[in-house]
Amino acid sequence: MNSIIWLVAIPLLGALLCTVFPRLANRIGWMFAAGNMLAALLVMHTVSQEGAFHYVIGGWSQGLGIALFADSLTALMVVMSAIIALAVSIYSTAYFTDTKKQAFYWPLWLLLLTALNALFVSADLFNLYVTLELLGLAAAALTAMGGSKEALSAAIRYLLIGLIGSLTFLAGVVLVYTAYGTLDIAVLTQQFQNNKVSWAIATLMTLGLMIKAALLPMHFWLPPAHANAPAPVSAVLSALVVKAAIYLMLRLWPDIFYPLANIGISYVLGGLGAAAIMWGSYQALRAQRIKLLAAYSTVAQVGYLFLGLSLIIVLPDGELRHAVMVGVVLLALTHAFAKAALFLAAGVIMQRGGHDRISDLDGTAQTLPVTTFTLALACVALIGLPPSGAFLGKWQLLTVLLHEGLWFWIIVVLSGSLLSAAYAFRLLGHAFGKKNIPHKRLAIGLEELPALVLSLIATLVLAFASAPVAKFIQPLSGVSQ
């Protein structure tokens, strides 16, 4: 039962130690990332044995203290972020050479990891606001470490939009406390009725989380932030930080806002998701740099997840809703691993080649064969070609859409995949381009290994994951009642 506390305590302890001993920050950092990995596996094990469990901090009852809650969805998300965190930590030991930058990178990075874990396990609305704030602050500070002027202005815009997002979320939390007198999610799930106040609460919280997840109308802060941040930071921003807001939507809508579910909401969210898919893929096609391409593809993938979410909201409990849930989880997991691999590979190219402009990428296959192989695998996973988890996710989504006869969404999903295939092959075409200089193969093991492992997970491991994930995720609505 205490394993849930280690999830927050280990990265926080690591952050404190890295602050006090800046010269050892490199070693302390990735060791605590490994420790976090163990804690995540422990939580996964506890959940698989005993199912979802509550843990009230300080032992206070009746919604006074803060409760932590871990169910199958939390366990999957926590293990996903632990694996990516470990890979990114190993990569950043090689990426950051200047000790002054390391001294501040590692504490901020571990604080971001603490915020992520605290957000995944928390079951108290105001606590979610504090974790969202810590996440946004640490991410903005890390983006600003990119050093260039664009990184600074991107970090400022990211911080301000993030603040507006969490303030809107806080407005929803304040209304919840006014109307229901409690902040605990489990208590709220029983008390929530379908009246005008609950509609105001749901809209405020959803608006706040949409801003945080960079859904279409509020996505303009994401591409500059993710493109100008240092490579390991943008890997984490795209793979994990954006997922936190989507995880909260998955946590809030099926549980608390279940009485409010109606067709209108799903069309709004689905429509925005579809628009995000189209707009993100179109911009990715026109991107000049790998990191910008990856950032816009994140905007598109957020669209897929919101499309799946809109289905989960409106479908009645049962087989169909469970299938969509599994599809959304698979899509989220694969996108996280593939996007992290893509950004880390772009980081290697940036450091070795000095730039990441797509048009001048020819010769990368000769000089950096492993990185190009990682790029290819990541693109396979992003498009959703068969050996990857995304294929299974989209397959689940499409079967449910077919069953429901929602033709418009099917066209959107398919054309989205087509567009992502277009920008992926454009990238790979340049990377495999011939260059007449005699190629010298660079073998840099430590830097390229994490990216390779992540892309292999995205394509091969997750390809066989649909059955175990389906079994592991209990039917959603039955979880917290």
Binding site: N2, I5, A9, L12, L13, A15, L16, T19, V20, P22, Y55, V56, I57, G58, G59, W60, Q62, G63, L64, G65, I66, K100, K101, A103, F104, Y105, P107, L108, L111, T114, A115, A118, D124, F126, N127, V130, T131, L134, L137, A138, A140, A141, A144, M145, L152, A171, L175, Y177, T178, A179, Y180, G181, T182, N195, K196, V197, W199, A200, I201, L204
Partner: protein, 324 residues
Amino acid sequence: MENIAWSAFDVLLIAATLSLAWASLTTEHLRRAVIFFIAFGLLLSLIWLRLKAPDVALAEAAIGAGLTGALLLAAVADHQKPINKKPDQKFSLADFVANTFLNLLFIAFAIVFGAAYTFALNEVNDSRLTDIVFQHLPGTGVTNPVTGVLLDFRAYDTMLELAVLLAAALGVMAIGKTRRDFVKPGDMERGLSQWLIPTLIILSLYLLWAGANAPGGAFQAAALLAAAGVVMRLTGYVDGGLPQGIWLRVLLVSGVGGFLLVSLIMMFAGRIYFDYPESWAGSLILLIESMATISIAATLVVAYLCGQPDTWFGGQQKENKHAD
């Protein structure tokens, strides 16, 4: 007669606050906007007093108006040109339509939010969590309910909030070094500071001690201590009275560290996380509170320095060069 006078006072107070907020966000000179914002912060702490929230009034006056104001004033010190009106401001229809549409949108948002708020108010009987807090308060060893909630019932929240503060301080230091160009302190400031700083420190200790049973506590005490640091910074001590090298780093970390260690010790002793034993609950809270006070004060001063102190990596503090 009694509550009519109070309602009149309320309307006056609200009108003053709203007009200050309006002034702060719409004047063209940025420096004037910051000064209006500081006045708005002070009026806000008056409102907190009216709503019977003395702890929050202390924190608002010290952190919300004081430190935030000092920080913003330092930031806008070198802003000359009026920001709002661009010289070639010709009337463009598109802007006008966009602005009115946005205004209407936000007015509608306010009306919906207000309606939801008034409906929500009479949904629940007034007590919400009050009775449960007072029922469990004796178990926390403190009599001030706000300190009880902050450091015992929701101590996990406060730990994460200190982590937010630490993240902000690290982010501020990661960006660059503190600025060194300073006006040489005349005898006026030195005279004042030699007298003012000890008073601030004593007041801060009083607030920390009073926090257990009267309005006060870690954040208010830390804000006063940070005010002493700001006064030192303004009177020539470039590093604002912060310790050197590793001691500064340990100090910054001791707030969150105190929370984490105590909570983990409770867990090792077989109790639930953050569950203080009845007998030493009061003294445990005081221990955490005092570590948090010094740590928050140091973090607030670092945030005010707007950069990395010279001695962060352990070097000697360079002689502070005064620009006249």
